[in-house]
């Protein structure tokens, strides 16, 4: 299981990287942490002619707070998101989601941007981005553009990134103080990709009812999806077990093309969606109560 032959470049600037990508065309592939790309090469499922290593591009691994938004560079390692005090304090959901990604050795190399660009339908980060309504910052030959998460994930391993474009950063709007979060998933083993998972945000109104809710599902459809019917079922309702139950049941409505593999059929995945949604909602409600 050895990778096929390819050329390798390690540009020092974004500009240089974009130039190389433009020159080489569709056969070039950005290389971030390599934790998805290199296994695909070893299995010869991918055959790029050139890898453009993003590892030394200045500025891509910055993490900062910008006016109510956490801005994370595409090359920020997952391990850092797990442990950085800034993330722990302002966006603990991101840290919690990270702990469900593979294993420490994977996270030591794997990057935020790599996971989002890879767009595995069972991955955690895409669902987090979708729930938080993150903006994905993209640079290409034509300059910079910003794509909302809901328009970024198009299908399994398919995103709005065009050939020659790079994801450079992600802007996560911070939830309000009255918002609680939850993430729940079912996986065969610890660290495995989820058979079904849900990321939830629940904002409490002054009267104790649900002011706003976001539910993003992963592992069940060809891309991360928002369970809008379930979200609507929550708004204006008290944060009770009954409400969550009713909303959770409606979450499956969001799944049009369910995933299926040796670890779990489409039927099974769909069946446990309400369970993970309810659990994630309960976790969110508990956190909102705690504040």
């Amino acid at each position: 299981m050895k990778p096929p032959a390819f050329a390798y470049e390690r540009p020092q600037s974004l500009h240089e990287a974009l130039e190389i990508l433009a020159r080489e065309g569709a056969e070039a592939r950005p290389l971030a942490g390599g934790q998805s790309l290199i296994p695909m090469l070893a299995l010869r499922l991918a055959r790029p002619t050139l890898l453009v290593d993003l590892g030394e591009i200045a500025g891509l691994d910055e993490l900062s707070l910008d006016d109510g938004t956490l801005v994370a560079g595409a090359m920020v390692r997952q391990r850092r998101l797990e442990r950085d005090p800034l993330v722990a304090h302002h966006l603990p959901l991101l840290a919690a989601a990270t702990r469900l990604v593979g294993h420490p050795a994977i996270r030591n190399r794997g990057t935020l941007g790599g996971s989002l660009a890879h767009a595995d339908p069972s991955a955690e980060y895409p669902a987090v981005a979708l729930a938080l309504e993150a903006e994905l910052v993209i640079r290409g030959p034509g300059g910079e553009r910003s794509v909302p998460a809901r328009e970024f994930f198009l299908g399994p391993f398919t995103t709005a990134l065009a050939d020659g474009e790079l994801l450079t950063a992600v802007r996560f709007p911070l939830p309000s103080a009255a918002t609680g979060w939850g993430i729940a998933e079912v996986a065969r083993r610890h660290g495995d990709f989820a058979l079904a998972g849900a990321v939830t945000l629940v904002e409490r109104a002054a009267d104790g009812t649900c002011a706003r809710a976001a539910i993003a599902l992963f592992g069940v459809a060809t891309r991360p999806v928002r369970a809008t019917a379930a979200e609507q079922a929550l708004v204006g309702q008290p944060l009770t077990a009954e409400t969550f139950h009713e909303a959770a049941v409606r979450a499956t409505e969001a799944i049009d093309e369910p995933l299926s593999d040796v670890h779990g059929s489409a039927v099974y995945r769909k069946q446990i969606v309400p369970v993970v949604v309810r659990r994630a909602l309960e976790a969110a409600a508990q956190r909102v109560q705690a504040t």
Binding site: F6, I38, A42, N108
Partner: protein, 159 residues
Amino acid sequence: MERVPITVTVNGRRISAVVEPRMTLADFLREELGLTGTKLGCEHGVCGSCTVLWDGAAVRSCLVLAAQADGATITTIEGLATDGTLHPVQEAFWEAHALQCGFCTPGMVLTAVALLAENPNPSEEEIREALSGNLCRCTGYQNIVRAVQLAARHERADT
């Protein structure tokens, strides 16, 4: 394909080499440097046998290219014992019978070293979680967990 010049520090030794872009760090260590203590058990990032320390952090050497390691400091299992004295984690693995066929052992030991470096007093659950990316087919893991606990106790006692 054009070969790539790299300079890596491996087990304290600075090494300059020119590598084929597709060569993994694992193959570089094993085939070019003869450091065969790093094992290849799956070559797709699941088994953890090829774990090495990269600037102190555990990394799968089958999932990085040698070219990417330019400038990195790598520790392999061969670099752990000093002057013939086993590292406390190696000692603890021996003491606790944490190995049988030995194939996963280098990766397990280095994963444990990285864990203890950042968390000198891990709970059993934390240990199991940290090791969960490394497969062992012989031991059932229990003695490996015990070895890490033992090493943690010894290291604490020493400091």
